[in-house]
Point group: C3
Chain length 169, copies 3
């Protein structure tokens, strides 16, 4: 069965770059599964910078909501997949009123049955002061739970600190 | 003397569940020392979910302010104690105008003399951007200091990341 | 060549105290390179508390902007330097309109050529919820990048958790 790896860390901790390196070691060409949608200029700029850094060894597909479907659709050819990132996927699910708990449970339950490897990027968003905004509190609670579910179902868990990965599991 | 263990991490990082598992390994039945007070519906809901997850192997007592007193009162029978959590205790001390520095110094100083083991849960609240709110800044400074004092007096220190504990000490 | 060490962590995680200990092991007397400027009473109070903790084995110089110049000026006598901290240096650069990317690239590029050791303190500011304030978002992105650059050019990288250092590299 395909290996699953979760890479977490704060913003600009080198998660995406490390995840790309890990994915390309697992096989080339690789598939980049983008969960981001360019809602505003700041996000569009960030997506463009990320794409510019990746080279021709990547094929990119978008999966803002149906992440498990995208993983299943790309599972047969054995190419490693990079999912960047789980917190944006969660945000898309919440904003579109979908059941993020059921979706993340289904994702975690399906991981052991995937044949091709998958590397997930996620974010640490719960190590600051409690936000005054109730939606922000709900989001960081949900992000922590999604990270736990996927980490438990994954073979490896890494925490990126200042660009360097620290093995947790 | 009883072992002391401090388990820290961001919100929803699996701290409480890991602390419960560690405590029950140290002995059963165990004593759950709750520092939370149900000030609002959101907190009441969180407390109820935590209690529902714990089973009959737990006896629960509340200690929103006199945590050291609760530890001393429950020290003679040898049952392990789980304190959940230090940041709520600190918040209660600050809100009631008590001297949290003296209280946390006394707690740390007393730890080596306790006979029954104790597992503390606390929160990482200082890895986000500097809050604009002065009280929030004071709280995260205080939480960091309390965590340092208790960690230094404890035998073990663990950081939970996405549900998985990482040994720091 | 002089060893470079980067020590990161959340607020009140014991970074400065640990960095001072590491620096004094590398040689005495040591040079404290302060990047802080006392803009307000809260910061002045924090600087004063930090200075009071340090003893006569330290010589203090200020380098709010030209950090690389200060490192070069103090490089010939071989005394270890402690830079506290990179995030304040970054903040000073941004507030004065200087090119922080060029400055941090130059700093990272120069590190391998320094003869005397240097210990850097920095802050984890990117593990909370995304700030609503655009300047705060830009700052935490920049801080993450500066930390990555300096960590990559350093020989050691440590994460402080509740007063205890965890080796990342």
């Amino acid at each position: 069965m395909g290996k699953s790896i979760l890479i977490t860390g704060g913003v600009r901790s080198g998660k995406s770059r490390h995840a790309e390196e890990r994915t390309l070691v697992l096989g080339q060409p690789a598939i980049y599964i983008a969960t981001a949608e360019a809602h505003d200029a700041e996000m569009a700029d960030r997506i463009a910078r990320h794409q510019a850094r990746r080279g021709p060894e990547w094929r990119t597909i978008g999966a803002p909501l149906d992440l498990l479907g995208a993983l299943r659709d790309t599972d047969s050819d054995g190419a490693p997949r990079l999912v960047d990132c789980l917190t944006l996927w969660l945000s898309n699910l919440m904003l579109s009123g979908q059941d993020w708990e059921a979706a993340s449970d289904a994702l975690a339950a399906a991981l052991p049955d995937l044949r091709a490897p998958v590397v997930f990027v996620t974010n640490e968003v719960g190590a600051g002061i409690v936000p005054e905004n109730a939606l922000a509190r709900a989001f960081r609670d949900a992000a922590g739970l999604v990270n736990q579910k996927v980490a438990t179902a994954s073979d490896e868990l890494w925490l990126c600190v200042a660009g360097h990965p620290l093995k947790v599991k």
